[in-house]
Amino acid sequence: MIQPERPKATRRRTSVRRQELISAAARLFASRGYYAVTVDDIGEALGLSGPALYRHFPSKEALLVAVFDQVIEQQRDQARELLAEAADPAAALLAMVRLHVQFASEQRENLAVWRQELHHIPQAESGRLRRAQRLYVEEWVHLVHELRPEINDASARALVHGVLGLLQSPSDFRSGLGDDGVVNLLMSMAVAAVFQGATEPLDFPALAQRRSRARSA
């Protein structure tokens, strides 16, 4: 059967609806957990029936992939923005650390589902998601190279992985310290870990000066 081409307005409505569904799913997955949420719950949040929802997403898993896609993309965009705006690498590091801690706390449920489900979603999808995640990690690696030019590439990458693991630790464990307490503690640990083995003491103002001298040179 030949499908008549949809008028533009309908297509736009469709993509708005799609976006609404992804946002509702992300919210519900993050607050109640992926496994506890049904497709009907997501539809209900928007006043949609199950069949109406399936027109946009064939399954709950498809919605999960869409949520992951969006979370990773947002995270990467935010990272790029922070890095572009930061006055120097030291400021960039603090901003990136704060971004990742905030991300881990907001996406706590989704992170747990990510770890559990990534191996079970179709390989084409999981491969794409992993590649997207790597682009975010590469922003970090680039930053570590600026901060620690003496470290080789594989070490910088391993260092970044360690720092991300550290910053994500509240996703496995509730400390009861309160958000500010945790953020400050993890920030100080992450910065100390990035500068492990550094011969010069941690001196952020000097680092910033070095950077601005290098820029003007």
Binding site: A154, G165, Q168, D172, S175, L177, L185, M189, L202, P205
Partner: protein, 159 residues
């Protein structure tokens, strides 16, 4: 009829169920860390030995660590409860040593710092850097020690 993914997978494991593997690992880790803390002369020495010990586990057993992360939430409640309890005892061995070194931290801060350090040491089970083990281990050990000594120290605070 079993419905959970965990139940389905366990049938394909020939020698042991994931739970019994997890049990064995947690028990062994707890035994070994207790031996380390009781043998060490001072908390600093204990901490270095504990970092080295945990790293050996994280690098040698990274597949188990990965499956722990993937499977833990689908374990039967009583298994999860028992394993969590053992894990907490293990973490408490660490907290005690860290608290002895970092007397300026509250107990809650020391515990959060320990969790963060363990997560750091677990990173090779989640991401592959391509860095060979003989370079990876000293790097992660150095990061862990720096992170624990730098925890809560605000020399990096933005102006």
């Amino acid at each position: 009829m079993p419905t959970g993914r965990y139940v389905d997978d366990s049938r394909t494991v020939r020698d042991a169920s994931p739970v019994s593997v997890f049990d064995r690992i947690v028990e062994r880790q707890l035994e070994e860390v207790t031996a380390i803390t009781s043998a060490a002369g001072d908390p600093e020495a204990a901490l270095s030995a504990m970092v080295a010990h945990h790293l050996r586990f994280a690098l040698e057993d990274r597949d188990h660590l990965a499956s722990w992360r993937e499977e833990f939430r689908s374990l039967p409640a009583e298994d999860a409860w028992r394993l969590r309890r053992m894990q907490r005892l293990y973490v408490e061995e660490w907290v005690e040593v860290v608290a002895a070194i970092r007397t300026d931290l509250s107990e809650g801060e020391a515990r959060a710092a320990v969790h963060a350090t363990l997560a750091l040491l677990h990173s090779p089970s989640e991401y592959k850097s391509g860095l060979p083990g003989e370079a990876l281990a000293p790097l992660l050990a150095s990061m862990a020690m720096s992170a624990l000594h730098g925890a809560g120290r605000s020399s990096h605070d933005p102006a």
